[in-house]
Amino acid sequence: MALLEVRDLSVVFQRKGEAPFHAVDGVSFDVEPGQTVGLVGESGCGKSVTSLAIMGLLPKRGAKVTGSVTYDGTDLLKLSDKQMRDKRGSELGMVFQDPLSSLNPVVPIGLQVTEVLERHRGLARKEAMIEAKDLLDKVGIPDPNRRLKEYPHQLSGGMRQRALIAIALACRPKLLIADEPTTALDVTIQAQILSLMKELVQDLGTALVMITHDLGVVAGLCDEVNVLYGGKVVEKAMRHRLFAEPRHPYTHGLLASIPRLDAPRGEKLTPIKGSVADNIPWTSACAFAPRCPNALDVCRSVTPAEEDQLGRLLRCHNPVVPGTPAAEEVPV
């Protein structure tokens, strides 16, 4: 059995007087220890809400979470707030996108690291401080003794993200969820952080859920990739297969619209037409149909079912046939 089993997870946001909004719509995936699973998609595809739902961080009012999230045999969605607090930080770690707003600005870094150690491992302040120093050292923060006494604003963006990773790793969690951990950082710093995370997964056997919009990051880091669109997984495969042969028109379109560093000059990009605003609800159609170059009539009237094709899950009526170029794009 996998360490984390997410089954049919749905999140519906409901406000009085407004139509319910299906942010996440029946997402399922497994994560094994030492494995990295990627959730990719553009803004609004539900990837961050998925991570918040797993960690139980969505507000109780207004957000309805259904399905099951089985971690090590227990359903996290059924746990009480108190039980969940014991899990978070000790067994489940999370790294957020913006390190400045997820660190407390008026508490020194050292205290924010030791807080976790004291709460979950019952260490005394002094022991915790020694441990915290080791942690900062491990994530590559120079001169950790001094940094422990400093406040978040005194650290650079990359150092803050490292501090956040140190906090998440303080209790050696079995599962780490990273929500766009490098989006706010420069590329050279991004490369530092990604290689650090890769190392940690290898050394500690942590299971990692990587949430990102950057297909390049996924290509280098993740074992299995889930491509999300409009709250549903539209394609799921191991990374080598997914990138070599994208079958869903959305995955295919995403890859064709990224300028590649190793592409010959003068090659035109093939964008996906329209924007996420053109989506139609999944209830009786494919949400991607209005933007899809392969759309058939059936795409607008029947919700495509998830099909298993030899280790690849695909949700599409008319997938891209490998080896053919994308359909000619009509400018919007």
Partner: protein, 368 residues
């Protein structure tokens, strides 16, 4: 094609750091742009890349004189743009337009698209009667791929990609020679990003525009630029055609930058070697002596690097680099070595030898 449209000579922008209440004492400077020379030919796209804080945006703004440069000249189409004043400057600005990063905050939320586009035309006396203006507006919207019904709408009614199209239409309205685009696609989703990149390329072909594209994403810059300049801490470290830069980066920083960019292909990702830079970008208020990059450079040598600032020199035709040891690094004579990260001081970044005397606030002044 080979005619030079823009020539920037030894451009410097230093922002003073001020302290004190009663006396605005300058206690230091942020050396945002520190001596940049570059030339842009008519009809080409010049890409300026670098990480945040390297001064690329400031350079772009200083060229348009949105920030007054501290020193240096910009010659635009044979005229010295940096000494123009008043009405002459205003008239010249018609020929240099800008596209900003965040399309929502650079468009007035209370102006309709029509009024946004007409404003520039009026200011430069290009508004010749209702009919011709209406025709011009329709042309503009068709050029950027928006429906004519967009004219009566307001910026908030559009998606991010469409807003950026409005921003581009506004820049196009005045028939400029040069468009400076500061991070034109970085706020957009990838699928939409490609639409805007293609649009910029189409417009260039159609109207014979010259672009200066400023971006942090080297893949985007490489895709649309003819020539690329790489900036680090206020100075250009390398300049080459985009193929050349990718094929054979000569400056250690460019090498590290290129190796850090993820490629969406697992086969490539598994094979490639990463050059990881140690530590962070030093503070531009207190830049390192000598070569600005020597504190993080894996190829750093014992002499020259920390004492002498390298000048941009042509190593092969059209490929300039600012590194003392570029030839030796190219031939493999000098091998990279491990670098220990150096602490980078955040905050005001004042050098420690500047004494902070005098009151820093009103309370401090009243209760010494």
């Amino acid at each position: 094609m080979s005619e030079t449209l823009v020539s920037v000579q030894d451009m410097k922008v230093h922002f003073p750091i001020k302290r004190g209440v009663f006396f605005d004492r300058t206690v230091g400077h942020v050396y945002a742009v520190d001596g940049v020379d570059l030339e842009i030919k008519r009809g080409e796209t010049y890409g300026l890349v670098g990480e945040s804080g390297c001064g690329k945006s400031t350079l772009g703004r200083a060229m348009l004189r949105l920030n007054e440069p501290t020193d240096g000249k910009m010659i635009f189409d044979g005229q010295d743009f940096s000494t123009l004043k008043g009405e002459e400057l205003r008239k010249m600005r018609r020929r240099i337009q800008m596209v900003f990063q965040d399309p929502l905050s650079s468009l007035d939320p209370r102006q309709s698209v029509e009024s946004i586009l007409v404003e520039g035309l009026r200011a430069h006396d290009l508004d010749e009667g209702k009919e011709s203006t209406a025709k011009r507006l329709r042309e503009l919207l068709t050029a950027v791929g928006l429906p004519t019904s967009a004219l009566r709408k307001y910026p908030h009614e559009f998606s991010g990609g469409q807003r950026q199209r409005i921003g581009i239409a506004r820049a196009l309205a005045l028939n400029p020679d040069l468009i400076v685009a500061d991070e034109p696609v970085s706020a957009l989703d990838v699928s939409v990003q490609a639409q805007v990149v293609n649009l910029l390329e189409e417009l260039q072909e159609k109207f014979g525009l010259t672009y200066l594209v400023i971006a942090h994403d080297l893949a985007v810059v490489k895709h649309i630029s003819d020539r690329v300049g790489v900036m680090y801490l206020g100075g250009l470290v390398e300049e080459a055609t985009s193929e050349d830069l990718y094929e054979e980066p000569l400056h250690p920083y460019t090498r590290a930058l290129l190796s850090a960019i993820p490629v969406p292909d697992p086969e490539v990702e598994d094979r490639r070697e990463r050059i990881l830079l140690a530590g962070d970008l030093p503070s531009p208020a207190n830049p390192p002596t000598g070569c600005r990059f020597h504190t993080r450079c894996p190829w750093r040598q014992a002499t020259k690097c920390d004492t002498e600032r390298p000048a941009l020199r042509e190593l092969k035709p059209g490929h300039k680099v600012a590194c003392h040891y570029a030839e030796q690094i190219r031939s493999g004579e000098i091998q990279p070595h491990e670098v220990k990260p150096i602490l980078v001081e955040e905050g005001d970044g004042l050098s420690p030898d500047v004494p902070l005397v005098g009151p820093a606030s009103v309370t401090e002044a009243l209760n010494p």
